[in-house]
């Protein structure tokens, strides 16, 4: 297997086996002194967010709640938006896990999110590069880089 654009020379860091990151809620890792919350979305890959909410500095990467949200709709209707968001533990602001954008215009402050990928059962993140950027391309592997596979609606 070879992976173009994924390696220490490109700033990527192997933060551990995928099994160390239970699906659903974030797990904190520290890379280069920066705390990142790793979110294992199973079939939809992994995400990495800074452990610092842009609103008031809450530990969103450690204690944020990963969930879905609702799309704008007509009064009294509810339309579930399957885009995954992370909800801050303090004031419950929601941010798109893919882009870091706050949900539906609640603010202009963006959560810092980083490139993340699963390759050969290992979780890689790039603390120096923020999403959305071109992701590593798996050329010859049964594993796949899944960070770009989610094609759901964006919460912005």
């Amino acid at each position: 297997m070879s992976v173009v654009g994924l390696g220490p020379e490109d700033g990527w860091v192997d933060v551990g086996d995928l099994g160390q990151f239970p699906p659903g809620q974030p797990t904190i890792v520290t890379v280069g002194g920066i705390e990142l919350g790793i979110v294992n979305l199973e079939d939809h890959g992994v995400r990495a967010v800074r452990n610092y909410c842009p609103h008031r500095g809450a530990p969103i990467g450690a204690a944020g709640f990963v969930t879905t949200t609702f799309s704008p709709c007509e009064p009294s209707a509810l339309v579930v938006n399957l885009t995954t968001v992370i909800r801050c533990p303090w004031h419950k602001w929601e941010f798109d896990l893919d882009t870091g954008r706050p949900a539906y215009g609640i603010s202009t402050m963006q959560l810092q999110v980083h490139e993340a990928a699963v390759v050969a059962g290992r979780v890689w993140i790039n603390p120096a590069r923020q999403r959305p950027r071109r992701q590593p391309v798996v050329q010859d592997s049964v594993d796949r880089t899944t960070a770009d596979t989610q094609a759901s609606e964006r919460t912005s």
Partner: protein, 382 residues
């Protein structure tokens, strides 16, 4: 009677000749409301009210029909401007010509929006049949006794919110009269964002009429009246101070129920309920919305944006701040350049002298004096 249609829809006036609009003028009934309105009731209701013949206590010995009002918290100095009372204590603002002279002529007011004082609390009445009839009769009374007397007056169609479909019928009955610039919505004990009121909002928006609200005078007094926050006040002082929070709560509810999103062209005019609380309300709503947006996904923009686009407030009573600069700050925070409309509250005791109010409005003066009202009520005001 035949309802007059005064269709001025072809009026091409731009409003440049209108420099001062008073958005809160109170006609009074000169006598008991049943006597005043009896010629405007249907024969059936005139009989039911005992108003068909001479209305005396013989009709209802020991009893009488009363519209919702304030029996518990009187203003100890009286609620009318003392110098306007007649020689025998007659009520002021019972005659359209006299009122025009005292208010419109005296202060150079080009348009006066009428809110009949005797019916402001009808939204708290428990009997929708009574209120429907009273609203209809009062509309006829306003047209014949005021709008037909001086073309500077404008009216708001009084309706019974207790039954929104009937209210919509009343709106349809009068909306062809271009002198009617709004719909008077007397609050009850259900917050006005409730879906039951949507037929009223639909009818008003379709006809290009603003929704007018005013202190009902019945707040906290009847179980059918708007609830007051915290509990039961004791005197005029704490009762009066409590009013405003009813209206803040209604605005919050209008946001929460998506009414501003559903009726984006509709304007809501809040008269005599204050506004210095508005910046705080908007801040609280915006902050809460950022955290709870997913609870109300139909609220698609920050609540303050809806409020600034849809809600208007009248000046009286103008806040007596410690300094003029403080007043300017409050007015800036509430975007008075588009949200604030001049009002005097003539002929009430706590009215604001138009000249004094305009002097204190600084750079907001021209917008508040007329431009905002023209934008709010549109061509019907011209």
């Amino acid at each position: 009677m035949t309802i007059t249609t005064n269709d001025q829809s072809t009026d091409t006036s731009t409003g440049a000749d209108i420099r001062l609009v008073d958005c809160d003028v109170h006609p009074n009934f000169s006598a008991d409301w049943l006597i005043e309105l009896r010629d405007h009731f249907s024969p059936e209701w005139a009989s039911k009210f005992g108003a068909r013949e001479a209305y005396t206590t013989r009709a209802f010995p020991g009893a009488s029909h009363t519209l919702p009002y304030n029996p518990f918290y009187p203003v100890p100095v009286g609620v009318m401007r003392g110098e306007l009372l007649g020689p025998n204590g007659e009520m002021p603002a019972t005659d359209a010509k006299v009122a025009a002279k005292q208010l419109l002529d005296e202060y150079g007011i080009d348009r006066g929006l009428l809110v009949p004082a005797g019916i402001i609390g009808v939204g708290s009445h428990p009997n929708v049949d009574v209120v429907t009839e009273v609203a209809s009769a009062t509309n006829k009374w306003v047209v014949e006794n005021w709008l037909d007397v001086d073309d500077r007056y404008r009216g708001a169609i009084i309706c019974a919110p207790q039954n929104a479909n009937r209210a919509a019928d009343e709106i349809a009955r009068w909306s062809g009269d271009q002198r009617m610039v709004g719909v008077y919505f007397s609050l009850g004990n259900v917050l006005m964002g409730d879906e039951r009121y949507f037929p009223i909002f639909e009818a008003a928006e379709e006809a290009g009429l603003a929704i007018m609200l005013h202190v009902s005078g019945a707040e906290g007094i009847f179980p059918t009246a708007p609830s007051l926050p915290g509990g039961t006040p004791t005197v005029q002082l704490d009762w009066r101070a409590s009013w405003v929070y009813c209206y803040a709560a209604n605005i919050a509810n209008l946001v929460a129920r998506g009414v501003f999103e559903k009726f984006p062209k509709l304007k809501f005019v809040f008269a005599e309920v204050g506004y210095t609380w508005l910046p705080d309300l908007m801040w609280r709503l915006d902050t809460t919305w950022r955290s709870t947006r997913s609870d109300v996904p139909w609220v698609k923009r920050p609540p303050s944006e809806y409020i600034l686009a849809s809600c208007r407030f009248t000046t009286q009573p103008l806040p007596e701040t410690e300094t003029d600069e403080q007043l300017m700050q409050v007015l800036a925070m509430m975007h008075a350049e588009k949200t604030l409309l001049f009002s005097s509250d003539y002929p009430h005791w706590d009215w604001d002298d138009p000249r004094a109010t305009l002097r204190r409005l600084g750079h907001f003066k021209e917008r508040v004096a007329a431009a905002n009202a023209i934008e709010t009520f549109g061509s019907r005001l011209l």
